[in-house]
Symmetry: C2
Subunit: 152 residues, 2 copies
Amino acid sequence: MDIVQQIRDKGLKATPARQLVYAELTRSHMAYSHAELEALFLDIDRVTLYRILKDFEDAGLVHKVFDTQGSTRFAICHHTCPGKHHAENHVHFNCNDCGRMFCLQAVQTPEINIPGGFRVAGMHTLIYGSCEKCNQLTDKNEPTDKIQEVIV
Amino acid sequence: MDIVQQIRDKGLKATPARQLVYAELTRSHMAYSHAELEALFLDIDRVTLYRILKDFEDAGLVHKVFDTQGSTRFAICHHTCPGKHHAENHVHFNCNDCGRMFCLQAVQTPEINIPGGFRVAGMHTLIYGSCEKCNQLTDKNEPTDKIQEVIV
DNA sequence: AAGTAAATGCAACAATGTTGCGTTTAAGAT
DNA sequence: ATCTTAAACGCAACATTGTTGCATTTACTT
C-alpha cells in the first residue's frame, strides 16, 4: 500500500518529513535511535522528529523498544496495531559491534513461567551478540573501511 | 559475610554511603532506579550516588538493568561476578502499577533459537504486569502461584 | 482558491548523566 | 595513636535526551 495512504489512514497528515521517516523504517525493518534518524534526515528539526515518532507510536505505525544501552529506538509495526496498545511480540537483536538493532519478526517471545503472585501482562526479549555483517568482518579479517555502510 | 568486607574485597573503600547503598540493595533484592535511591538516602550527593553505582557495577557487586520505560536500574549480583563482565542471566519483573522492579533469581532466561547469521552472546528478559502487592489491591481472589500466559 | 486544524520550527525548560577540581576521609604504614 | 596518601566526596559546570509553549506554515477539506 502507498506510504502516504498508510499515514493518512491513521488520521495523520502525510507531510514530507513523516513520509521520509516512515519510508525508511519500512524499507529497513531496523529499530532506529533518534540520533540515527537525525543523522539520516539532517533537515528534519530535532523536536519535529521527536513528535513524528511519538505520533507514529500513538497511531500504531511504529513501536518503541530499548536497546542494551537503554537507548530508545523505533521500528515499524508489522502487525496492524490498534493505536497505542501494540501487539509486537517478536524478539529484537542488538549487535554489540555496530550497534544496530534488528526486529526478528519471525521469532516470537517465548513462553515463560514465573513463581509468586505476579500477574504477567507481557514480556520483552532482547538478544545481543554480533550481526551477520560484523561476524563476517571479524571472522575473515576484512578491512575495517568496509564498515562505513553500517549505521551506528 | 560482612557488608564492609564484601565491599573491601572488591578493592573499594567501605565508606558510609557505600555501606548504606549496598546494604539496601542486599536487603531488598530489588532493582532500584537512581531516583529511588536518591529519595531513600537524601544525604548522599547525587553525583556520588552515580559514582557509587558505577563503581559497584565495575566491581561486579551490582548489575545494571533497564525497566520497561528504558530507565536505568541497579540490583545486587547474586552470583559472584568477575568484575565488569556480569553473569546475571535471570529474569526481571517490572510492575506496571507501582513501578518497582524485581530480580527473579530463580527464573533463568530461556533458550531461544534465532535464524540468520547472528551470533548470540546473551539475552535480556523483562516481564511486566502487576506484582503481588498491586494485585491484592485490585483483586483479592487471585491465586498467587497461578501461571499466566505470556502475551505481549 | 480559501479556511482550518494539524504540523512545524524555534526557544526555553526539564530530567538524567558526566567531568573537573579542590577538599575530605578510609585504611594501611609508622 | 598518628601520619600518609590514594581514593572518595561535594560542588559547579557541562552534556545529552526529551518536553512544552507559541507563533508560523502547511496539508487537506470544501
